[in-house]
């Protein structure tokens, strides 16, 4: 076995040192009744080359975004991941380290997390960020848990324009948290601040998405104000790619900013692993879930980084912890840091503008009715294709184009609606091709 180093001689010497005759004997504490007495019914071992061949075969059964011209978005995006991200993530020290429990061994990754936290705070306009949550759905549940404890209230409000999977996860977590979930329907593609205000009364928090699931820009400052007025924590679920051109949630009064980080530095990878980010005003720092790295000094007064505020965490506080999270998504968050560092402020802005410009071109070029014609959109928009969305998808895919996401999967009355996503990886002629496809 190529992962094991013990030779036959090693084994013998070791058994002798232990004072047993066989490996079997090491398991003598396992009661007979629960021992497994046959071989595992698994396929035979494969050599490295066979593993590669087998997985290449499986991979070839997938149509990835390199094999199809894809306009799929809806939460996971085909943005360009720069080569430096691969370079950094392939560094074995970073790949194979674990949570930096012993700071003297891990100043590198601690510093990187601190830098990541800073980037998230800068993006969102917040004071504190954790080292990552699992993904863009679970950070929403985390936000509810924070809000519950901060406000003592037991209702959470979510906009219907919040990503359906995020809503579903919040609803799954809610019973355990003792929370009830209320949805506020959209009006013409966005949330009405007054309706939200009404729902927010007595709520622990209000979660909305900017740009929302339809790609539309919500009146986010008004929504945040509505929540604040009601004493509910406003929580913005944001796309990092948009934050070079769209206002930071911190600047319009949000208590928490959360989101799916994938679009900044992670491959699509069939949905994971990615990183969820969570940032908050300083008021809530001691209620944050997960790891947080802080700056300090060492015995000689040199700058040093360390996991901090650990009295929030499960290993210290156990049943009173702010969360149960241990293993998080550090490597993916690190990819996010590298990606954002690669972009820089100017690059992030350009990327946002390019997406918007291409999406606007697509809107025009497709020449199909918009589902929400009155709204400003970012990189996604909903169109009506005039026939069942799945038919349009099937027809286009036969020609090598995936035209977008069928909104009927989540929204009633949208049988013929497609959510089209345009990233900077698509070109004008790609969009022309899509237009042809959907015209046909």
């Amino acid at each position: 076995m190529s992962f094991l180093s013990l030779t036959e001689r090693d084994r013998e010497e070791m058994l002798a040192t232990i004072g047993v005759d066989s490996i079997e004997e090491l398991f003598r504490d396992i009661p007979e009744g629960v021992r497994f007495d046959r071989e595992l019914d698994l396929e035979p071992a494969l050599s490295e080359q066979e593993i590669v061949a087998h997985l290449e075969e499986l991979a070839a059964k997938n149509v990835d975004t390199g094999r199809e011209l894809s306009f799929l978005g809806a939460g996971i995006y085909d943005h360009y991941v720069p080569a430096v991200v691969d370079t950094v993530l392939s560094r074995g020290e970073l790949l194979t380290a674990y949570t930096p429990y012993q700071p003297e061994m891990s100043q590198g990754v601690l510093q990187a997390i601190f830098e990541y936290q800073t980037a998230v705070c800068e993006l969102t306009g917040m004071d504190v960020s954790n080292a990552s949550g699992y993904d863009g759905t679970t950070v929403a549940a985390d936000a509810c848990y924070v809000a519950k404890h901060v406000t003592g209230r037991s209702r959470v409000v979510v906009a219907e324009t919040l990503n359906p999977q995020v809503r579903q996860v919040v609803k799954t977590y809610a019973p355990g948290f003792g929370l009830e979930v209320v949805e506020v329907p959209h009006r013409g593609g966005v949330t009405d601040p007054d309706e939200l205000a009404a729902a927010a009364r007595d709520a622990a928090c209000v979660i909305f998405q900017q740009p929302n699931f339809f790609g539309c820009l919500e009146p986010a400052p008004d929504l945040a104000a509505a929540a604040n007025d009601a004493g509910a924590l406003p929580v913005a679920h944001v796309d990092p790619v948009s934050l070079g051109v769209l206002e930071a949630p911190g600047a319009y009064g949000c208590a928490l900013a959360i989101g799916e980080g994938q679009a900044a530095g992670n491959y699509q990878s069939y949905g994971g692993p990615h990183y969820g980010f969570m940032a908050a005003r300083s008021d809530y720092v001691r209620r944050m879930p997960g790891r947080i790295v802080g700056e300090t000094t060492d015995v000689e007064g040199r700058r040093a980084y360390v996991l901090t505020l650990q009295t929030r965490e499960q290993h210290i506080r156990r049943e009173k912890a702010t969360s149960n999270i241990t293993t998080n998504q550090t490597l993916l968050a690190l990819a996010g840091l590298v990606h954002l560092s690669w972009l820089g402020p100017q690059g992030l802005k350009e990327q946002g503008e390019t997406c918007m410009a291409l999406a606007a071109y697509a809107k025009e070029r497709l020449d199909l009715p918009l589902a929400f014609p009155d709204q400003t959109t970012f990189k996604e928009f909903a169109i009506r294709v005039g026939r069942p969305a799945e038919d349009a998808i099937r027809a286009a895919r036969e020609q090598g184009v995936h035209p977008g996401y069928a909104l009927k999967r989540d929204y009633a009355g949208m049988e013929d609606a497609l959510l089209v996503c345009v990233t900077e990886k698509r070109t004008r002629s790609d969009i022309d091709r899509l237009a042809e496809m959907l015209a046909a």
């Binding site: 629960v34 977590y173 790891r291 149960n324 820089g344 350009e350």
Partner: protein
Amino acid sequence: MKLIYERSQEGRRASSLPPNDLPVPEIPEELRRDRPPRLPELAEPELVRHFTKISTRTFGIDTGFYPLGSCTMKHNPRVNERVVNLPGFRDLHPLQEEEGSQGALELMWRLQEILAEVAGLPAVSLQPAAGSQGELTGLMLMRAYFADRGEAETRRKIVIPDTAHGTNPASVTMGGYEVTPVKTDPRGNIDVEDLRTKVDEGTAGLMLTNPSTLGLFDESIEQITRIFHEAGALMYYDGANLNAVCGISRPGDMGFDIVHFNLHKTFSQPHGGGGPGGGPIAVRERLEPFLPVPAIVRDGEEAFRLDYDRPKTIGKVRGFCGPFGVFVRSYAYIRAYGPGLREMSEVAVLNANYMLARLKDAYELPFDRLCMHEFVLSARGLKREHGITALDVAKRLMDYDFHPPTIYFPLVVPEALMIEPTETEAKETLDEFVDAMLEIARDAAERPELLKEAPHNRPVGRVDEVKAAKRAVVRYLFEDHPDLSKEPASGRELEVQKGA
């Protein structure tokens, strides 16, 4: 070393983007960003150097021995990185139609089958993102199961031994349950007498790690199972220590109803400086209807699909189908072993027992038994006699280029040193580590200051954790960034759990 923000200069950048010559739509003023985020500004050469340096100041398994108890820091085979980066996996959109994602579905389905066999339980959901989320999902399943039986209101308690990992009680609270603690007996098993007094119709279930965090297999497991099942309660298996028993003893056969796997432990997903992980769960038939959606099912011989039609489902605990890239790596890992997975566990247990045999005279062993894949020593003796703590031992190990073991956990062992070598280490490495530990024990008596001042060869010496928590400087503040070296040291050390 400088922070990346301290290396920044306005006007530098590493990115080049395709030029945009199309008009950019107007953004309403109140939604538009005017003050740009102060992201780093460096050209690519400096970016690469910065992160190269970050990496060399980080100790990974690739650097050396990393016997962090409970974390199963085993070698991460490189072929797994090769296959996970195949474009057909890496660039696959999770909302791709089923016809266009058959390979991904098949891989997940195959992994489910494998995990079911290893667990000895028939139904698997891959969705949870890590062990902790597996736990919480398990508790949600219990809730749904009992609600379905009309017992939701009465079954409120989850029994947890005092050796349990902190995630267990934390999950219990998040799942809306209450913790009932149970004691450990003098052999390191659950105290069955104590247990009997704690389990009744109010009990929803048990959460147990077996082998426990002491590295001991619970010899009373059959009795324990009987107690819970007779009370109509469910049993949850925290799979963090599954590396000890693959192909040797199966949780399902022990009587557990729900099991989580830590793919980043047992099945070698690299730990990535803290994550990602994977926390699939396997359950008994009667719990299957409640599993998260979508289920991954096979239709006929060759077609796979996502099944959302599960009326009793708890819902979703994470986006899409879970951390797919983790599945690819773990699947590849398991395929390299095949039925030989048993050997993996055997060697893990052999390595641990070998070290234990060589160390148990120099350090206190709270429970004098053979161990499983890890063992817990106590530095209590060193502390009493020489004032040397588990923390000091850990820091001194760094001078030998070893990552320290987990310390101060489990909580039932004072001055705990929790050592898990894993199966992928060479005997020479185990011997070098043991020799270091023995030398340290001698030095504790003869030159304790050497330990107190350790580490000596790291970029920083011991760090002031108290100051960090008090000051809570958790991001770079640019012009306003404080100089903490000018502020007094706390003079205190935190002897708290590090690891696991």
